[in-house]
């Protein structure tokens, strides 16, 4: 199979994830969409790795997975904290960092 297909799939996944980040307001969903974007990147790396026949891409994917896991931990931790403090679970409401 040609590499293009993998890349098209990866691009589609990334776009879906990014649109999700832009349009959804629930932090949990946004985190899900971020995971989607990371997976898209991982897919592209795997495809290239396969094409070039070396293992570097796979190593990168492993690292990306680790980072993704960490990120989810922190992100979900924040969400839980927000829930406990009975803050609205809506990213547009949380703009205390406005300059």
């Amino acid at each position: 199979m040609d590499i293009e297909w993998y890349l098209i799939l990866s691009a589609l996944l990334f776009t879906v994830g990014f649109i999700g980040v832009l349009v959804r307001r629930n932090p949990v969903v946004i985190l899900l969409c971020l995971e989607l974007m990371l997976s898209a990147g991982a897919l592209a790396l795997l495809a290239f790795s396969r094409m070039l026949g070396n293992q570097d891409g796979q190593v990168f994917v492993l690292i990306v997975l680790v980072v993704a896991a960490c990120e989810v931990v922190v992100g979900l931790g924040l969400v839980v904290a927000m829930y406990r403090r009975r803050l609205p679970l809506d990213v547009d409401e949380m703009k205390e960092l406005k300059g």
Binding site: F18, V23, G99
Partner: protein
């Protein structure tokens, strides 16, 4: 040996000043005064010993240079802590220490009731030390040092009664004007070093004729710079305004510093640098004309003002004008001779004036003084002697010395004949104002204070008031205390005045044309290289000149008698008729106002402009402006921080897109 004595002359007053200054807490006031007097008298004795040592030398090697250590030297400019002893400096040393001794003795009694007795004697000794540094200096830097130190001492003594605003203001004025004079000397010394490569008297005067051609601009510039210093110190136009204000100081100070010694330093300077001035006749003429103008203007002011000390001060200015003319036109020994006789009779006049002022409980207005003839006969006699000498009455010292200068101007002829005429007019005015004082104070029915003195045998106690403003004064700082002192009752004052009185009368015998010329002979080694050293009027010409002087002096005294005794209504009518002349002269020809307008006010305005406008708006404005710019730049971009998470995401998207597009375009 001569040099050692000269160093001792310097050392003694300094030691006196330091001793009194450092031990003022423990030393009784009388002892302090005694130390002060002793130091100066001892210095005088050392001066005489130095004179004897010097006279022992053959006349062509009658100068000694001596130095203690290298003071400062850099890049070819080498300055020693050195002195130069020759007849001229010894002459000045003797005049200074001699008159100072008498004035110290006078002050010992006069300042008796003053709270600041130690301070006074410490300053006065320090002044004598500085003046001796000035006259003994061996190079131009030491000269500047002495020059500035006498300025400082003069300041300290003018502001001696520092509780008075008028005294501190006068001190400030004197000091700043004197510093301007110092700067003239700085520039002169720098120019001399630049052209000759040395600042030592010996080298400079020896080499000057080789280095400069007559009236070359550089030597003229040097002499003009020297003249700035001389004019400022000697209160010649246009630097004269400080001298009248300096009368705020105690009367012995006026007598010593602002009449007899310090203010004549300019004359000494010109005489000392005569070999430079002879190379720059233009500068010498400038000096002579300035002296002439000053002597005339000061004379007119002295006729108009009514403050006793200020009259004498203007008369000092006028007499120094004579000396300036004298030493500038080449009559060196005549100028120095007049310097000496003037020191005698002017110191005497001030001492007598101080006595009268004490008797008047510090009032200085001659319009209020009257009839002191009986109340204070001794002081009155001394005052008359002083006035006679000042006005050049035949036979007195002033007659011989002043007319010698006047003669010399006539003898040189040409342009100098105009000066001769001017000086004769000045001599007439001198006689008028000298006897104006006498005729106002002494004859007539006694005024309240004189009567009180006659009846009670002691002086009236006035309120402690500032004579200039009438403000009541703090008596804790200095004079006036509870008592005042007058010559009739204080031995020290009487003694000092008597000695000076005798000297003022007979000092003329030193220079009787045709008979002897002690001063000229004595000073000859100093001036022997001068082109004028062998030019002098013949004996008969001199006697004709003396005759003219005598006539003018008598005419002046007669005029004063007419105006102030015989027809006292005349001055009043004159004043009514020519009000503008009176206004002009009594306001001192608006000298203060002109200087304020031209210099003081602009300088102050610049200061205010810098403070209020420049510093505030430009310097501070630039500082706060930069800070403000940073702040407003921040404010401009802060709206981008919306806090909207999704907004940031969009921005990131566009950012990444922009980068991607950039690389795509690059790769094509």
């Amino acid at each position: 040996m001569t040099a050692t004595w000269a160093w001792l002359v310097l050392l003694l007053p300094l030691l006196g000043s330091m001793t009194i200054g450092l031990t003022f807490r423990v030393l009784p006031a009388r002892t302090a005064g005694l130390i002060g007097v002793t130091a100066i008298v001892a210095a005088f004795v050392c001066g005489i010993l130095a004179l004897i040592g010097l006279q022992g030398e053959p006349s062509e090697s009658r100068h000694v240079a001596s130095s203690l250590w290298e003071y400062a030297s850099v890049g070819g400019l080498s300055i020693d802590l050195g002195i130069y002893v020759d007849p001229l400096s010894i002459f000045m040393v003797l005049v200074v220490t001699g008159v100072s001794s008498l004035i110290h003795i006078y002050s010992y009694s006069y300042m008796k009731s003053d709270q600041g007795y130690h301070r006074f004697f410490s300053y006065l000794n320090f002044f004598v030390f500085s003046m001796l540094v000035l006259v003994l200096a061996g190079n131009f830097i030491m000269l500047i040092v002495g020059w500035a130190l006498v300025g400082f001492a003069s300041y300290a003594l003018i502001s001696y009664w520092y509780r008075r605003n008028t005294a501190t203001k006068a001190g400030m004025k004197a000091f700043v004007i004197n510093v301007i004079g110092d700067i003239g000397l700085y520039l002169a010394a720098i120019l001399i070093f630049k052209n000759i490569g040395s600042v030592d008297y010996g080298t400079v005067f020896e080499k000057a004729p080789e280095v400069f051609t007559t009236n070359e601009w550089e030597i003229v510039a040097i002499c003009l710079c020297l003249l700035v210093g001389a004019f400022a110190k000697s209160a010649q136009m246009p630097f004269h305004t400080w001298l009248a204000d300096a009368m705020e100081g105690p009367t012995p100070v006026s007598s010593l510093i602002h009449a007899a010694t310090m203010v004549t330093a300019g004359v000494y300077l010109i005489a000392r640098c005569h070999s430079l001035f002879e190379l720059a006749p233009t500068a010498a003429d400038v000096s002579a004309w300035v002296g002439l103008v000053t002597l005339l203007i000061a004379g007119t002011i002295a006729i108009a003002v009514t403050d006793l000390k200020r009259i004498i001060a203007y008369s000092t200015m006028s007499q120094i004008g004579y000396m300036f003319v004298g030493v500038s036109i080449g009559a060196y020994s005549a100028g120095m001779f007049h310097l000496m006789t003037h020191a005698f009779f002017k110191a005497l006049l001030f001492m007598a004036a101080g006595s009268f002022i004490s008797a008047m409980a510090n009032m200085q207005d001659i319009d209020r003084m009257k009839g002191f003839r009986k109340a204070m006969p001794f002081t009155a006699a001394m005052m008359i002697i002083g006035a006679l000498a000042l006005s050049g009455f035949p036979g007195t010292s002033g007659w011989f010395s002043k007319d010698e200068i006047i003669d010399f101007a006539h003898f040189r002829g040409g342009m100098y004949d105009w000066m001769w005429v001017g000086m004769l007019v000045g001599a007439f005015m001198t006689a008028v104002y000298s006897f104006r004082i006498i005729f106002r104070i002494l004859p007539g029915p006694p005024c309240e204070e004189a009567e009180y003195l006659e009846e009670h045998g002691h002086v009236i106690h006035g309120e402690p008031k500032n004579p200039a403003t009438g403000e009541l004064e703090d008596t804790e700082v200095g004079y006036p205390g509870e008592e005042h002192h007058i010559a009739e009752q204080a031995g020290g004052m009487k003694f000092a005045m008597a000695v000076l009185g005798v000297l003022a009368l007979i000092a003329g015998v030193l220079q009787i044309p045709g008979l002897d010329d002690v001063v000229t002979k004595f000073l000859e080694p100093t001036f022997e290289n001068s082109v004028f050293s062998h030019m002098h009027p013949t004996t008969s010409e001199s006697w004709i000149g003396l005759g003219e002087g005598a006539l003018i002096s008598l005419a002046g005294i007669a005029t004063a008698w007419l105006l102030y005794i015989k027809r006292p209504d005349l001055p009043v009518r004159f004043r009514e008729r020519f009000r503008w002349i009176h206004t002009l002269t009594v306001n001192k020809w608006y000298g203060d106002e002109i200087i304020d307008f031209l210099i003081v006010n602009p300088v102050k305005a610049i200061g205010r402009f810098c403070n209020r406008a420049f510093e505030r708006f430009v310097i501070d404005g630039a500082t706060t402006g930069v800070a403000g710019l940073t702040r407003s730049a921040g404010a401009a971009v802060r709206d981008m921080q919306s806090g909207l998470l999704r907004g940031y995401a969009v921005l990131m998207l566009f950012g990444i897109l922009a980068i991607v597009i950039y690389f795509l375009i690059r790769s094509i």
